[in-house]
Each structure stands twice: as structure tokens, then as C-alpha cells.
């Protein structure tokens, strides 16, 4: 990790991965997610070859904060997000969700913990059961977690994500990409999560809808106080929504810091390349 570049993050040793824990402003709230020195490896069943998808990564997200992990495809950002929410391979290292270490909690406790971290996936249609209408999907969640979900009525919930109530009777194939993603966000919101993990939430959507969905995520974070972990390859998306960014490259975090600083003065070569690849980068540099 000697090549980790940290910017504007007080009190941390930039050369040690644990230093990344300092990315959050302690005043904004208790830690929601703490990832400490995480290593996740995938083994190819046929060849037995081991591929290290996440390589000694640490990060910390406090209540109400929005943190982004950026990087190209295959950089390990989705593996990191899945491990952090207890959905994927957990790997080595410690992951604490609301102070509970995922490696030491039992199955029952993990099931109780899971709703605290809700994931919004990249493919909105794929993440909805094709045989379940919007209403029956919400009903299922309500029947499984009646106490957690009783805080809001269906119509009010849909209004929060700016969907008409008539959408309730529809099946996923009858929804547009934007509508389906809003339904996914509504389903996540219904569980009143403390952390929302958005894994490329706009990359499957039309450009015209992307801004709406991002604005919605931003608003939900502001009104519910949930923390947001945004996984993206799109720096423009990250810049518009997040306060802190971690740049991942080949499974490692190579640069971290507040968005404005990292974007204005990138120090790692890879970050500079990412920024240069952003649409309009040339135009901006001329300005």
C-alpha cells in the first residue's frame, strides 16, 4: 500500500491503509460501515488459479456521509461492496456493520443486520423478480419485517421516489429503466436502512433519467440520514453525489480524499488517467 495517496484527511498516516478510516468527519455521526484491511480472493474452480479482487482495503463511512469507490471494470469495487454488505465472499479482514463484525455474527443476526445496509444494483430490471408485481414485492417485504416497514404507506413511499401509485400493479417488464430503478430505491428505502450501497445505479439508464435518479439518491440521503456508498466508474456521477472518494485500481485503493481535492489535484497516475478519460475533460482543461 505504499502507493496510497491521501489528500486533505487530517490525523491519518497516509502510508497505512488504516489511515483511510479517517476519511469521515467524526462529527457527522457514529460509524455505519468499517472495513478494515479487507482481502477478497476468487479461486478459479477449473484452473485453481487465485485472483485477488480486493487487496488490503480499509474504509469507514459514518452516518449521513456519502463515500464513493471509483475505478474501472474489474478493479474490485463491486466485490468490495458485496463483501461489505455480507452478500458476497467475505474474505479476510474485518467488516463491521453498525459495530457488529460480520465474521463473528451468527446467521440469524446477519439476517437482522442485512436490512440495515440496502443495495441498489446496476441493472434495475434484473434486480426485480420478473414474476412479482411492484405491490406484491412491497407486501412481501412488509410481511417479513412488519415493524421495520410500517413507517410509511405504499403510496407515500412511491411519492418519495416520485412514482405514481398506479405503478403498484405493474410487473418489472412493464416499467421503464428509470421507473424500475425508482422501485428498487423504494424497496431499499422501505427497510429504513442506515447505509445505502448504490452499485453503478445509473449506468444502465438513459442519460435523461440518470440525473433524476442521482438527485433522488442525494435527497434520500439528506432526508433519512442514511450513509451512502456509491460504486461507480463514472467520475461525474461521483462528483455530483459524494463527499469522499476512494480510487481503486487492481483491487487496491490508490488514492483517497474529499472529492473536490482529489478531482482538482489528482496525485496518483491512475486517478489522472481516469480524470482525463472523463467526457469534457479536454474542454475543462482548456478553461
Amino acid at each position: 500500500m505504499s502507493d496510497v495517496v491521501q489528500k486533505g484527511m487530517p490525523g491519518g498516516d497516509a502510508r497505512h491503509p488504516r489511515a483511510l478510516e479517517q476519511t469521515a468527519d467524526p462529527e457527522r455521526g457514529a460509524p455505519v460501515l468499517e472495513v478494515d484491511d479487507l482481502v477478497v480472493e476468487h479461486r478459479n474452480r477449473r484452473t485453481g488459479e487465485v485472483f485477488r479482487a480486493v487487496d488490503h482495503v480499509s474504509l469507514r463511512i459514518g452516518a449521513g456521509e456519502s463515500v464513493a469507490v471509483v475505478g474501472e471494470s474489474g478493479s474490485g469495487k463491486t466485490t468490495l461492496a458485496m463483501a461489505a454488505t455480507g452478500l458476497g465472499t467475505r474474505g479476510e479482514g474485518d467488516i463491521r456493520l453498525l459495530g457488529h463484525s460480520l465474521s463473528s455474527v451468527g446467521r440469524k443476526q446477519l439476517r437482522r443486520l442485512r436490512p440495515e445496509a440496502q443495495v441498489v444494483f446496476q441493472d434495475p430490471h434484473g434486480s426485480l423478480d420478473p414474476r412479482q408485481s411492484v405491490l406484491s414485492g412491497l407486501r412481501e417485504l412488509r410481511s417479513l419485517q412488519p415493524e421495520r416497514t410500517s413507517w410509511i404507506e405504499d403510496t407515500a413511499l412511491l411519492e418519495r421516489v416520485r412514482l405514481e401509485p398506479s405503478i403498484l400493479d405493474r410487473y418489472p417488464h412493464q416499467l421503464s429503466g428509470g421507473q424500475a430503478q425508482r422501485v428498487c430505491i423504494a424497496r431499499a428505502l422501505l427497510m429504513r436502512p442506515r447505509l445505502i450501497v448504490a452499485d453503478e445505479p445509473t449506468s444502465g439508464l438513459d442519460v435523461s433519467v440518470q440525473a433524476d435518479v442521482l438527485a433522488l439518491l442525494k435527497e434520500i440521503r439528506a432526508t433519512t440520514g442514511a450513509a451512502l456508498l456509491m460504486i461507480s466508474h463514472d467520475l461525474a456521477v461521483v462528483r455530483s453525489v459524494c463527499d469522499v472518494v476512494h480510487v481503486m485500481y487492481h483491487g487496491r485503493v490508490v488514492e483517497s480524499g474529499p472529492c473536490e481535492t482529489v478531482f482538482a489535484r489528482p496525485e496518483h497516475e491512475y486517478t489522472r488517467e481516469l480524470l482525463a478519460a472523463m467526457p469534457g475533460a479536454r474542454w475543462r482543461s482548456r478553461q
Partner: protein, 332 residues
């Protein structure tokens, strides 16, 4: 257009399409699709009927079998006239089609009875056998396939795949005979043949279940492993939905269609004549009847059984379509 505000900026509300117009269009489309499907099924039924008719005519002169080799040409001619075989082929063909559509499948040359009534007499026995066999096949095959898909790559998966492969490769008549040797001859637990009591059904149903069970298990594994890899499964888990519910309510419901299709089609195949099983156990079903008809060159009866099989197959295909449209909202 309705709007909401985000960060004091008006944002348009996502508006659903116009359901009235879309609904009517969708219904018209569904009706058109259903009509096309029924037409296709009727066409395949007609092809099957024509083939049955042609094969009957190609299989030799039935008068030789009925009258024996010593009969005179005059006697043969008289019988041909009696059976209507001396009329032009086209006339015979349309006569036959007319009969089929009025429920008259002709008379047997061997038993001197109406083919329809003989088929109806034997049908309950075959139905018992098929119901028993398919129930066993589903009860074993589906859980086996689901288990293999859930534990993909483990020895559970390999064991289930081996069982399925064996089930598909073992010859039915050999497996039936082995069961008879073990359970009827050596252990004396179950009767070796004939019908009558539920105990008589056990061995034939078990024999019959092996092939469809293997097929169902393999298809369930493939279909479930695909469904379990879908993002909505991760999404369901992320919402805190329990493992068993995710597997059965979400993955299996979506993986069910190909399984259901194979179950119905296998039922059709077995219904139209489980010849080997019925022969091994002397089971008085349609398979035995077909065998007797072929041996005697009783072509009206063979033809009737083939027609009945085709009819069952076409109706079951239609049933698959209906079930599909009920189960899958995307097809409606």
C-alpha cells in the same frame, strides 16, 4: 405533468404509460398469439393423423394376417371389400379423418371391437401408471436438481448429476427386470406383474419414473442454477429475505417453466404408450394394447392408438401454453 422537488429543483414525476390503450393492445396481441398457437397445434395434429394413415397403409396387407397364408385371392378380395380397402386411397383418407373428428377411430381387426372403447378401457390403467411414475419423478427429481444447483460444484452436485446420468442411461426394461428380481423374486415384498392393488403399482411406477426423474433433475439443476445467479436473488437476500424463501419463492418460481414443460411433455409421451414398462410387468395399459396391435398387424388399432397419442400430445402442449400464460406475467 406532475413534478416533485429535489434540492429546490423541479423534477418530473416518472409517469406510467396509458394503461387503457396499452391493455387493449396487449390483449389483442395475446389473442392473436393464442389463435396462431391453436392453428399450429391443429396443423401438427393433422400431420400426425396423415402419417398414422400412411404408415398403416405401408405396413403390408392386413388380410394376410387375418386370413392366414392359405386363403384364396377371392377370400382376400372379399375381406378387402368388407374393410373398405378396395376404395381409392383419398376416399379412405377423408373417411378416416371424418371418423377421427366424430370420435370414431374404427374397429379392431383382431378383437372385433370399437378401437375407441378399447382405448378407453385401457386408459385408466395407463393413467394410474403415468400418474404414479410422474409423481415419483417430480418428488425426487425436483429436490435433487434444486440441491445440485444450490450446492453447485460440491460433491452433492456431483452425486445428484451421477444419479441423473444413470437414470437417463439405464435401459427401462433392464431396470424393470432388476427390480422384479430383487423385490419380487428374491425379497418377495411386491408382486412381479399384473394389476389390481396399490402394491401392484409400486414396481411399474418406480421403473417408469426413472427416466423422467433424471430428465427433471438435470433440467431443474440447469434452470435453478441460472435463476440463482440472477441479480434479483442477491437483491432479495439484501432485503433480508431468508434463504429458503429466496430459493423457492423467487428462484424456483422463475425456473419452473422449463421444468413444467418437460413434466407435461413427458406425461404425454408416457400416456401414449409406456410399452417397455407395461410389457415387463404385464400391465394391461395402452402400451400393451399397442404391442398386441403391432404384432397382429391390426392397423386400424395401431392407427387409433397413434391418433390418440397425438391428440393427447397436442392437448398437453396447449395446456403448457395456458399454464405458461398464467404463471408468467410477461406472456399475458
Amino acid at each position: 405533468m406532475k413534478t416533485g422537488t429535489v434540492n429546490n429543483v423541479a423534477v418530473p414525476m416518472a409517469k406510467p404509460g396509458t394503461p387503457g390503450k396499452n391493455g387493449k393492445k396487449a390483449r389483442a396481441g395475446a389473442l392473436r398469439r393464442a389463435a396462431a398457437r391453436v392453428a399450429a397445434l391443429l396443423a401438427s395434429l393433422l400431420i400426425a393423423l396423415s402419417m398414422a394413415f400412411m404408415l398403416g397403409r405401408l405396413s403390408g396387407d392386413p388380410t394376410t394376417t387375418i386370413l392366414g397364408p392359405m386363403a384364396t385371392p377371392e377370400q382376400r378380395e372379399a375381406l378387402r371389400h368388407e374393410l373398405g380397402l378396395d376404395r381409392p386411397l383419398l376416399v379412405q383418407y377423408f373417411d378416416y379423418l371424418k371418423g377421427v373428428f366424430t370420435g370414431d377411430l374404427g374397429d379392431s381387426l383382431q378383437f372385433y371391437q370399437s378401437n375407441t372403447s378399447m382405448i378407453m378401457d385401457r386408459l385408466p390403467f395407463t393413467l394410474q401408471l403415468v400418474a404414479g411414475g410422474m409423481a415419483l419423478a417430480i418428488l425426487v427429481g425436483v429436490p435433487l436438481g434444486v440441491l445440485a444447483a444450490r450446492r453447485e460444484g460440491t460433491w452433492w452436485d456431483r452425486a445428484a448429476s451421477t444419479v441423473a446420468l444413470l437414470g437417463q442411461s439405464v435401459p427401462v426394461f433392464w431396470f424393470g427386470m432388476m427390480l422384479v428380481v430383487l423385490f419380487a423374486v428374491n425379497l418377495g415384498w411386491l408382486p412381479a406383474g399384473q394389476s389390481g392393488t396399490p402394491a401392484h403399482l409400486v414396481l411399474p411406477a418406480l421403473t417408469m419414473s426413472v427416466y423422467p426423474m433424471a430428465q427433471i433433475a438435470r433440467l431443474t439443476r440447469a434452470s435453478m442454477s441460472e435463476a440463482l445467479a440472477e441479480p434479483y436473488i442477491d437483491a432479495a437476500k439484501a432485503r433480508g429475505i431468508t434463504g429458503r424463501r429466496v430459493v423457492w419463492r423467487h428462484a424456483f418460481k422463475n425456473a419452473m417453466m422449463p421444468i413444467l414443460t418437460i413434466v407435461v411433455l413427458q406425461t404425454g409421451i408416457l400416456l401414449s404408450g409406456a410399452v417397455a414398462v407395461e410389457y415387463v410387468y404385464s400391465w394391461p395399459g395402452l402400451g400393451q394394447l399397442a404391442l398386441q396391435a403391432i404384432q397382429f398387424r391390426d392397423f386400424p388399432l395401431v392407427q387409433a392408438i397413434v391418433v390418440f397419442g397425438a391428440l393427447v400430445f397436442v392437448l398437453l402442449n396447449l395446456l403448457v401454453d395456458v399454464i405458461h400464460s398464467i404463471v408468467d406475467p410477461r406472456v399475458r
